[in-house]
């Protein structure tokens, strides 16, 4: 399912200060069906607001969203409609767990939509597996799980409603490196299995290059770039730095090589597995030249 945003502007009115703040300014972008797109930007650049606009949780002040070319309209009462095809995992989603068992937690959304009990249980068994836990977790209390496990349950509860597009707002913040990699790996498998779309908001540039096909860069509420990770991180380093954004380690490595050799190595992508062997070959060659 293709999601397109056209000239989105979002104004936030703060009752306390009586000021209107423009959080998003004239954002147009297309998220291709089945893609993994990462959104990067400093804290306060509008990433989380953009995610909510994409899901329909916030209604843009100006502009419109379309899905597969179909305009998303407000409902009869003029209220925003949240698209059932777009799932959103908030930041620190574990704070939202409230049921006494994981199964009840997962059942909450589908039950509100009138699913039969059998269908709920079947789906729950399926999604708990998708997020890297097993069926024994369904009877456990969410309160007794570790931080990483809670995070997985929260993601599973969004997957219950079978979204076609999944938006995740920093899903791995605060997790250790292995926990982080394994959650992203699970999401990648889910995406591949059903031609699903993933939109990942993150500060971890190394994760961006491992998974994303495209990167959206936000700065002060404006879309600065939408391009593939390789061109972005190798060619726009200075622009990113001026926005307070770092580049991934593999890009640093390639740029360091470029600096000493005067030439850029051709690589398939900025994934570590694509970059490391090429660099090693080059550096080893240099050693033998001396020997």
């Amino acid at each position: 399912m293709e999601l397109a945003l056209e000239h989105i502007q979002y104004d936030y009115y703060s009752p306390a200060t009586r000021e209107v703040k423009q959080v998003l300014t004239d954002i147009s972008c297309t998220i291709p069906s089945g893609a993994w797109v990462s959104i990067i930007g400093q804290t306060g650049s509008g990433k989380s607001t953009l995610a909510k606009v994409m899901q329909g949780l916030l209604w843009p002040t100006v502009g419109q969203n379309t899905m597969d070319g179909k305009l998303i309209k407000p409902n009869k009462k003029g209220k925003p409609t949240i698209s059932p095809d777009v799932g959103l995992v908030f930041q620190y989603p574990e704070h939202q767990l409230f049921e006494t068992t994981v199964l009840k937690e997962l059942a909450f959304g589908p039950r509100n939509r009138g699913w039969y009990k059998d269908a709920i249980v079947n789906k729950a068994q399926q999604v708990i597996d998708l997020v890297g836990l097993d069926a024994s977790y369904l009877e456990k209390s969410p309160l007794h799980l570790s931080g990483g496990e809670k995070r997985r349950v929260a993601i599973a509860s969004v997957l219950m409603l079978e979204p076609k597009i999944l938006i995740l707002d920093e899903p791995t913040a605060g997790l250790d490196p292995l926990g982080r990699q394994s959650i992203l790996q699970n999401i990648e498998e889910w995406r591949r299995q059903g031609n699903h779309t993933v939109i990942l908001i993150t500060h971890q540039m190394n994760d961006v290059v491992e998974y994303a096909e495209e990167v959206i860069v936000l700065h002060k509420g404006k879309l600065q770039f939408q391009m593939n990770p390789m061109s972005l991180f190798l060619d726009k380093r200075e622009e990113l730095q001026s926005m307070g954004l770092d580049i991934p380690d593999t890009a640093k490595l390639l740029l360091a090589i470029e600096k000493v050799t005067g030439q850029r190595i051709q690589v398939a992508s900025l994934k570590e597995l694509d970059v490391m062997p090429q660099v090693l070959t080059l550096l080893k060659g240099r050693r033998y030249q001396y020997d």
């Binding site: 605060g174 380690d249 640093k252 490391m276 240099r286």
Partner: protein, 271 residues
């Protein structure tokens, strides 16, 4: 200064979180404790300040045992803790009051309070924000205010309990550089984290896993035990992965080079 002697701790009906843990932190040290989620890292900070008591062994702060109730007031006055979540630490309506709040609680003379609070905010670069409401600050700024509030109490030891893990890269850099600055000024620092790239500033690193010490040493010594780090679910900094790969080709890179640019330059230009 802080001394753990054979400390074991467990929560009710759970297996041991900490098992026979012994280490010492000397005055003026900057110690980093690293370990994966669930390794018992945060339990250590609670034990240090007597928030929880060891089931076995002793925790001593400047020779004072945390098990003795009469010691706790002195210990807690001397140890400041910065927690993980900046949202959960600030309670007042502006930055300045946040720092004053702690001073009021220790019955600090009101005539000197303002000066002390301003000096603390100045140290973390937050004085220009003295009238700002905490919710308008970024995560890194909130943590800096929390640090100022603790500095005003003149602690002897500051424990940063995963206080960088919820911040964006910019916020993380801010906090790390404040840690370095405070250490240079003579404050003893204990930094608890799972980011390996944050431990380079430390004078000593303790790696823990499943409640036990796996390794102790300088950051460089720790970085040169890659397999141990992998076994502890920790991530090698990228430059060291490159170094390891070159080592397999019997190319040695000097120990002190730990950044990507430096390593590439060395490998390309040295003979």
């Amino acid at each position: 200064m802080l001394c753990f002697e054979d400390v074991s701790f467990s929560y009710p009906n759970k297996k041991h979180v900490i098992q026979k843990l012994s280490f010492q932190i000397e005055k003026g040290e900057f110690v980093a404790i690293v370990g994966p989620n669930g390794s018992g890292k945060s339990t250590i900070s609670k034990l240090a300040d007597g928030l929880i008591l060891p089931k076995k062994g002793r925790v001593l702060f400047q020779g004072l045992d945390t098990k003795q109730k009469e010691n706790l007031a002195i210990i807690r006055k001397s140890i400041g803790i910065i927690f993980q979540n900046p949202e959960e630490q600030l309670i007042t309506t502006n930055v300045f009051d946040e720092v004053i709040f702690g001073l009021e609680n220790i019955a600090y003379p009101p005539s000197e309070m303002v000066e002390r609070a301003e000096a603390a905010l100045e140290k973390v670069g937050m004085l220009p924000f003295r009238e700002t409401e905490p919710h308008k600050l970024s995560g890194g700024q909130k943590q800096r205010v929390a640090i100022a509030a603790i500095l005003a109490m003149e602690p002897k030891l500051i424990i940063f309990d995963e206080s960088t893990s919820m911040l964006d890269p910019d916020g993380r850099h801010q906090i790390i550089s404040i840690m370095r600055q405070l250490h240079n000024e003579g404050i003893t620092i204990l930094h608890i984290t799972h980011h390996m790239d944050e431990v380079l500033s430390a004078t000593k690193v303790i790696v823990i896993n499943q409640g036990q010490i796996v390794s102790t040493g300088t950051p460089l010594e720790i970085f040169h035990k890659p397999q141990m780090l992998i076994d502890c679910r920790l991530e090698l900094p990228f430059a060291l992965k490159l170094k390891m790969q070159m080592q397999q080709e019997e190319v040695e890179v000097p120990m002190h080079i730990t950044d990507i640019e430096g390593m590439v330059e060395y490998l390309w230009n040295s003979r």
